[in-house]
Amino acid sequence: MASANYETLGLSSDQVLSMYESMLLARKIDERMWLLNRAGRIPFVVSCQGQEAAQVGAAMALNTEEDYLLPYYRDVGLVLHFGMTAQELMMQGFARADDPNSGGRQMPGHFGQKKNRIVTGSSPVTTQLPHAAGIALAAKMEKKNFVTLVSFGEGSASQGDFHEAANFAGVHNLPVIFFCENNKYAISVPMEKQSGSEHISERAAGYGMPGVTVDGNNPLAVYEAVKKAADRCRNGEGPTLIETLSYRQTPHSSDDDDSSYRTKEEVEEAKQNDSIHTFSAYLRECGVLTETKEKELQEKIKGIVDDATETAESAPYADPETTLNYVYAPKGGDL
């Protein structure tokens, strides 16, 4: 895979190993969710599978202690890196009261955790882009040096909010990264029916910002692009639009049957470039990963996912009456 050596990018072997670990953890959590769903133990799952490299590559290029993240529903890899735990993710999967994202109020994939600067998201796609511009505007007004990264699918880039947010960021030269995870489908709609242009990144020029398309199966290429964009942000050079190319390996969600609109062969072929395998191979090639280490890692992660599942499944739901809480500020509000 990666032609660039990780060292030339300024990454240590520990760092690339931790990237791999995050990718693997994301994948394993996701796979477990599907098992739980198919066994009738959780009602819904929406996947990161195929996009872990893009997500972890991006996260690695950010400062997870101060930057702001506005993820979309597939971003297990991003939120893990920003501090959400496997157990917390499982709490969300099981819709338990202890889910830090929403206390079981939202569907899985609707991330939000203030202490980690993961900004609460909703289901209507693309609404988070103007929010990201707003947070970046606040950074500029308050003279703070953090970066805001907002992610979304290529289908979501068709919404008016994409345009309005990108243009706002362009006009005000805001420190924000628009991170488009192009996985070739929006549910059943392929890129050709989604976009008049071949690449989403071609839209950047219309807002006066650089636009780049990178291989989303290569975490190092993504890291490099996001690092550069983040540096631009911190140097006051304004926003960047980054598009990562990968493939959605699962159906859209546990409610979708993808056989009506794409062939098994197409899916299988795309899986040849599965970043989990190609990055693992690359790390072995570089001597960062060994068979033993990989085995250890797999076991460690299995343990984490098992524990998380168990703890979450046995945790309680929120009390029915709590449905009424937090419509407005609990007290001190005027109502």
């Binding site: 819709a95 079981g104 569907m107 008016g160 609109y261 739901y317 009424l324």
Partner: protein
């Protein structure tokens, strides 16, 4: 008569209207090869081809706006919003444009368009796949809003909506799609938009409702029948403009009125029904006008405990009818 379910009635109305009028076409997200995320448009792509069953980019304002343009030209677009919750980006096109085209052009231009959207909860859809959105539009002159409860009404009213000369919002309860079945004639028929329908005659308490709640009310009424409480049930069917006369008749008949909606209570369209009753039936009333609705929280949560707490059900209605009967 064949027994079909609610979503089959949608599908069958679409198919018949498309077969009958070349100007009718369908557009929306995933309505093509996939046949819609709920399969409302199943088979249409195969039967009528890509050009009449359009998979659009993920952009609701364009779905509505392109539909409006085509309608002004003379086509009969049927746009699908994948979930009613996602109609929000299209509000400007619907309220500022579709609703006002005839009026603002002094009857020169028109907008004969239908917008379908699945609404409602009870499907583990959480905050953004469960909402009732009718009150967002049920104050916009120029629009008509249809919310049928039975397959028979779905089919007859969707056909009427497609043929209507003005824009119609057609909201389908997604929980009803496969839950609710009913008889539908083989022969062609169309039902009048704007007319409510008495779904059950009764003498003690009047329930006015629509959509899935109508069925919950029917179930509650059935149980109460055994206790000797007789319920009169009016199905609004068209929730805007309201069928005033039918509301007045139904309320006056028993003098005890229960208005039921799955929507949040404050500001739901049941307020309008209450206002009509308070204006025209005041001296016929034997009990305060009661509304039974969802709590005033943004929408229903995902966790089953909270979803159940929010959702309407036959038990809640049964209790409210009994309380009124005993008043």
């Amino acid at each position: 008569m064949a027994v079909i379910n609610y979503i089959e009635a949608v599908n069958s109305a679409l198919r018949e209207e498309m077969a009958q009028d070349e100007k009718v076409f369908v557009l929306g997200e995933d309505v093509g090869a996939k046949g819609g995320v709920f399969r409302a448009t199943e088979g249409l792509y195969e039967e009528f081809g890509e050009s009449r069953v359009l998979d659009t980019p993920l952009a609701e304002s364009a779905i509505a706006g392109v539909g409006i343009g085509a309608a002004m030209y003379g086509m009969k677009p049927v746009a699908e919003m994948q979930f009613a919750d996602f109609i929000m980006p299209a509000v400007n096109q619907i309220i500022s444009e579709a609703a006002k085209i005839r009026y603002r052009s002094n009857n020169d231009w028109t907008c004969p368009m239908t917008i379908r959207a699945p609404y409602g909860g009870g499907v583990h859809g959480a905050l953004y796949h469960s909402q009732s959105v009718e009150s967002l539009f049920a104050h916009v002159p120029g629009l008509k809003i249809v919310m049928p409860s039975t397959p028979y009404d779905v089919k007859g009213l969707l056909k009427a909506a497609i043929r209507d000369e003005d824009p119609v919002l057609f909201f389908e309860h997604k929980r009803a799609y496969r839950l609710v079945k009913g008889e539908v004639p083989e022969e062609e028929y169309v039902l009048p938009i704007g007319k409510a329908d008495v779904k059950k005659e009764g003498t003690d308490v009047t329930v006015i409702s629509y959509g899935l709640c109508l069925h919950f009310a029917m179930q509650a009424a059935e149980r109460l029948e055994e206790e000797g409480i007789s319920t009169h049930i009016l199905d609004l069917r068209t929730v805007y403009p309201l069928d005033q006369e039918a509301v007045i008749q139904a309320a006056s008949k028993t003098g005890k009125v229960l208005l039921v909606t799955e929507d949040n209570k404050e500001g739901s369209l049941m307020g309008e029904a209450a206002a009509i009753i308070g204006e025209y039936c005041l001296f016929d009333l034997d009990a305060p006008i009661q509304r039974l609705a969802g709590p005033d929280t943004p929408a229903m949560p995902f966790a089953p405990t909270m979803e159940k707490y929010f959702m309407m059900n036959p038990e809640k209605i049964e209790k409210a009818i009994r309380d009124l009967a005993e008043f």
